[in-house]
């Protein structure tokens, strides 16, 4: 059974390698295009070397060899020696030159994906947490600062500066269609540029093992046109609306009088802790728990009651709420557009 399914499994993995969304061979911007170009150059060089090696092996194994019982006399073959010297010398020279060429191209590509300039780029501060991403659009004016989590909205076709840091351990920011991996190191800030030229949603992952829920630490880059991006930004800047119906009002009471308030912020209420993700516009996100669950009423309720079942070891505590309280709380959270 296993033997039968393994080749199919391998084929499926190979197919997903070429088709999946999480794929550095589908570049969405100038940086990932450069990286993809370098990838194919190195791929073809290695492919040629591989084919030549296999051909040489095949030739050597196809050659007849002597089964003589006694040792053959050693013959001098000066012509052959000279040929061999030339062959070995050429092989070494070609190898060294190719390696230097690859090194040169790597350095050039590294420079290309490093630098960019723009007079007034969108700047995004990304902080890795166990196990989610804090996304801040800093602004000198505090009330113009957008704070969200896991979903990074950017305008299409414009250079964006990403500032990185980590709150606890080393994480790595990796959206393969957009850029290479970038380590997020605690106590150390760094910066790089990204640009996406086609509108769409590009998934990313943490690419540095960071603890129990490393595998469930996803994010997405949502590239949209300038107008949509600005509308989104304006909406995110607003404080949470006051709930109008009685159930949502009760839900807010539940939020403010239970454990939620110790870790989460909802701007416009008394909740202001920065330990967990900012929930001011929770309902505007597509996924919850760092791209682990869809943002639906049921998933949200399940996550609140027993997050340790969904992501064992994560930092959110189980919340044994009464059913009415839970319903009200979820109703309230769903109003946070």
């Amino acid at each position: 059974m296993i033997a039968a399914s393994s080749p199919m499994h391998a084929a499926a993995v190979l197919a997903s390698f070429f088709q999946g969304e999480h794929n550095s061979l589908h570049p969405a911007g100038p940086f990932s295009s450069n990286i993809e170009w370098l990838y194919w150059v190195i791929f073809w060089i290695v492919f040629v070397a591989f084919v030549l090696t296999i051909l040489a092996f095949a030739r050597a194994s196809a050659k007849t060899y002597s089964r003589a019982e006694e040792m053959l006399p050693i013959m001098k073959d000066e012509e052959g020696d000279r040929k061999t010297k030339w062959a070995v010398g050429t092989a070494i020279t070609v190898t060294v030159l190719t390696l230097f060429a690859v090194l040169f191209m790597s350095v050039i590509t590294g420079k290309k994906v490093e630098g960019m300039s723009s007079s007034n780029p969108v700047t995004i501060q990304i902080t890795g947490h166990q196990w989610w991403w804090e996304v801040i659009y800093p602004n000198p004016q505090a009330d113009q600062t957008v704070i969200t989590a896991n979903e990074i909205h950017i305008p299409v076709g414009k250079p964006v500066v990403i500032l990185t840091s980590s709150a606890d351990v080393i994480h790595s920011f990796w959206a393969p269609s957009v850029h290479g991996k970038r380590d997020l190191i605690p106590g150390y800030s760094s910066a790089f540029w990204i640009q996406v030229d086609q509108p769409g949603t590009y998934p990313g992952r943490c690419a540095e093992f960071c603890g129990l829920q490393h595998a469930h630490m996803g994010f997405s880059i949502i590239a949209e046109d300038e107008a949509t991006f600005e509308a989104w930004e304006q909406q995110q800047l607003k404080p949470a609306p006051d709930p109008t119906d009685a159930e949502a009002q009760h839900g807010r009471e539940v939020f403010l009088t239970h454990t939620c308030v110790m870790c989460h912020t909802i701007r416009g209420t008394d909740a202001g802790s920065r330990v967990g993700p900012d929930l001011t516009h929770l309902a505007s996100r597509n996924m919850i728990a760092a791209e682990t669950l869809p943002n639906t009423t049921g998933a949200l309720a399940g996550w609140i009651v027993d997050p340790q079942r969904i992501k064992p070891g994560n930092k959110m505590t189980p919340n044994p709420l009464a059913p009415d309280d839970l319903n009200a709380l979820v109703t309230y959270l769903r109003t946070l557009q």
Partner: protein, 183 residues
């Protein structure tokens, strides 16, 4: 003969190592319990009839697990206990790393202090902090004055601190108006 000796040595070493397993044991989904600690904890040595109240049971797992104490240390920062108690040195609130315990140094006393709050500023964290996290905080607060074994207390700081980590702090024998239940 040498084979037997080797076997003996291996089993001895593995047994010694096994004893270290509990230190980092973590319970990811603690069951919600409605304990009565709050109503039973004794905060004063004075009792009518001089009969001390029975000491309520304390889950000692939190005081024996290095993981729980280090979680307590993280929570101490995240829940802003440091805002008043300043990493144990005191400021707006009393210091926690000395030997003076206003409302008692026993785990259940500290539990009551956190859950109920105290006069002159200590807020009540009832319902705001899950019970198991209160116990983690209690264990950490006790480690601040060296009341926990050295192998459990945190042995390093995540951030730059002026003071050494808790495991290196000298033990402070509780004194003053301790409210210690007599034993």
């Amino acid at each position: 003969m040498t084979y037997r000796r080797l076997l003996l040595a291996i089993s001895l070493i593995s047994t010694t190592m096994l004893s270290a397993c509990n230190r980092e044991e973590r319970e990811l989904r603690p069951s919600p319990s409605a304990s009565q600690v709050v109503n039973q904890a004794q905060v004063s040595g004075l009792n009518p009839g001089a009969n001390p109240l029975p000491t309520p049971p304390t889950p000692s797992i939190y005081e024996e697990s290095a993981y729980a104490v280090s979680e307590g240390k993280t929570l101490f920062g995240q829940y802003n206990c440091s805002g008043c108690h300043a990493n144990g040195g005191g400021g707006i609130g009393p210091p926690l790393m000395d030997n003076n315990w206003i409302y008692g140094s026993q785990p259940q006393n500290i539990f009551t202090t956190i859950v109920e709050g105290r006069p002159n500023g200590m807020p009540s964290f009832r319902n705001r902090i899950p019970e198991y996290q209160v116990w983690e905080l209690v264990a950490y607060v006790r480690s601040l004055s060296g009341l926990l074994p050295k192998d459990v207390a945190p042995s390093r700081n995540d951030q730059l601190y002026v003071k050494p980590p808790e495991a290196s702090m000298p033990k402070q024998t509780p004194t003053g108006i301790t409210g210690e239940p007599s034993k």
